[in-house]
Symmetry: none
Subunit: 213 residues, 4 copies
């Protein structure tokens, strides 16, 4: 008779019907969350959009918070998958290529439904999930940091930890802003180029013209 946390799915779906219901609910929640924000997302709305009764929603998610948490986990997994895959470089690429890969990897990661990511992070913080949020972002940081350490000889010497923070948050800030304020930029190949340049200039050894500061 283990005590169940309120933020944990009430039960695992065993049958196909269940799984479909759970998926529909999560999908609906993601949609409405992005469209309305957390507080304006009502459980009734989610259930309705998912095409299930409010009772069914609560059968699988014991609270609104649990629903968000589940969505969070799914998003975390997707983002990490994308990021990790992007940074699985093989061969011996040029330094430039390495840096561009970092930029592109982080960018791709944060571009996985950035609006949802943003809402989840912001709500996660309010829901007392600071630790979870931190660990989430830190997992991305870890992937990036590992990658950078591997090529550190080619990179400008610096505090890798701080650099990783700067890189990931800078790119995240750009991606999120683009998602919200300038969605058309996602179509613009130059955005990726600019991110590449931003990272190159930051990570590569100092150029002669800058050394004279």
């Amino acid at each position: 008779m283990a005590q169940r946390s309120r933020s944990v799915p009430r039960k695992k779906p065993r049958q196909e019907r269940s799984r479909a219901t759970v998926d529909a609910i999560l999908e609906a929640a993601a949609h409405i969350l992005v469209a309305h924000g957390f507080e304006d997302t009502t459980t009734r709305q989610v259930a309705e959009r998912a095409g299930v009764s409010i009772g069914s929603l609560y059968q699988y998610f014991p609270s609104k918070e649990a629903l968000i948490t589940a969505l969070f986990e799914r998003q975390i997994q997707r983002v990490l998958d994308v990021c990790t895959e992007a940074l699985q470089s093989q061969g011996s690429p040029s330094t430039q290529q390495v840096v561009r890969d970092v930029a592109l990897g982080v960018m791709k990661a944060y571009a996985v439904n950035p609006r949802l990511h943003q809402v989840l992070i912001s709500e996660g913080l309010k829901l007392g999930m600071m630790e979870r949020v931190q660990s989430f972002e830190q997992r991305i940081e870890t992937v990036v940091r590992t990658f950078m350490l591997h090529y550190s000889s080619q990179l400008r010497s610096r505090r890798v930890e701080l650099a990783t923070f700067v890189i990931t948050r800078a790119i995240r800030g750009i991606i999120w802003s683009a998602a919200i304020e300038r969605p058309e930029l996602f179509e613009d190949p130059e955005l990726a180029d600019e991110l590449g340049e931003l990272m190159l200039g930051y990570l590569l050894p100092t150029s002669p013209s800058r050394s004279a500061k």
Copy 2:
């Protein structure tokens, strides 16, 4: 008998006492907003903290939305003031200095109560104030762009408009993240250095080692 918009202050405070009341309310709202987030900020709480009755609050702000809007305007003004002042460069600074100034100016701007800024932006979006949000950020962009155009000959040629977007959003992303996840970084002088490096590498002419892409 023009219909008054619901999002506009009901009346201008004419007397000193009124102004003091309005200020107290805005101050209280800012505090609670940062501490609790928008939805957990109740008008009653704000009135209480401001030391006025709920009725008085509604005398000055016809709705919660109007209160947020007013706070938004105040924040906009403060941020712009800081940004503009920081970018009032005189003399003929070195290119490096120019770039560092941009970085520092934007950083200072976004460091004006970054948590509040963030909540306001995020709520502004929900409240259908997208235009206002855009124009807010664009006013900062304008200051930055103007500054950059002035020194464009010394900077790496690029789409200035896009570059401005990238710069402001990157720095904003870093500042916001630091405010939430790593507040201790605000004490770390290296953070400003890193932002300077990030901007230098991005804005300065391509270094030899990078030209060979």
Copy 3:
């Protein structure tokens, strides 16, 4: 085609397995009812503890009310059995013995799971089962009254009907209170003695010292 009442078991268990299931359900219901109280007893909980599915529970009991009713009947039978047996006096006991037997008999009756008894009575009232409750308690009264009438010549003359009410309810009140507030009293042999004294003083012919009222 008589309409089946909603408060009556849907079907009689014909097979052994059915009977076992029904028993398990009733046992579970009794346990949870005592532990949590009526409103905090959910049918799902009962089914779980009984080790059957919620569907099965409803196969045997068409409603929560029917379940309570069935439990009620079982409790009635048990209480009456205990009471009747206790009052099956043989031989020609002394007057004192008779009175003590009454006290002990009633006490034993109400001590059969007193918490459950209490919940059932209280819920029976809410469920509009006033008649059933009345008839239940009256059956105990009947046993007691019959017994008393049999020895009435030795008892102080009085309205037997009223006396029976007083006796049964007084003892019930004490037993219930002990069950809830002072469970340790059940171990204390003096409690039974006190009940005996209470009944002796009440039922025996008036003593000299009292006649002078």
Copy 4:
């Protein structure tokens, strides 16, 4: 900014209107509680019967539980007042009179809205107010015990503490049962007589005919 318990009135009514509202709510709650029982008493029902909005109810009672608690306090006070007043014996009454006074005092106490008393006790237990319930009943016990100790020389020697428990619970049991099952008995003067006899026989020195057990 002291933390307020959830079971405590949210604020003290300062104005007349407020006091009237609070009274109306408590009155309505008492009525519905007696008629329907705790769980079938909805806050909306109470508000409706009190002629106020649901919001007003929650302005004064932060939870359903707080409402019940407030009612409880009021009932406690009334019952104790009645009991204490009844046992303020002056002069030097006969032993019989003393005992009858005890009986009558306890009876009167438990006859103050006995249905409400019963519901409150039973709900108090569920609400984790066991301590409060205990202390309530113990305050009545205290009044009774004090009274008895005062006349103990005239009473049959026994464990006063246990005797007090037996007396109060016996009478409570009878009164409650009468209130529920036989309300007409309240009109019957013989009921009081019977309670007196019950107590006399229990508390007075053992009569000769009983000593020979």
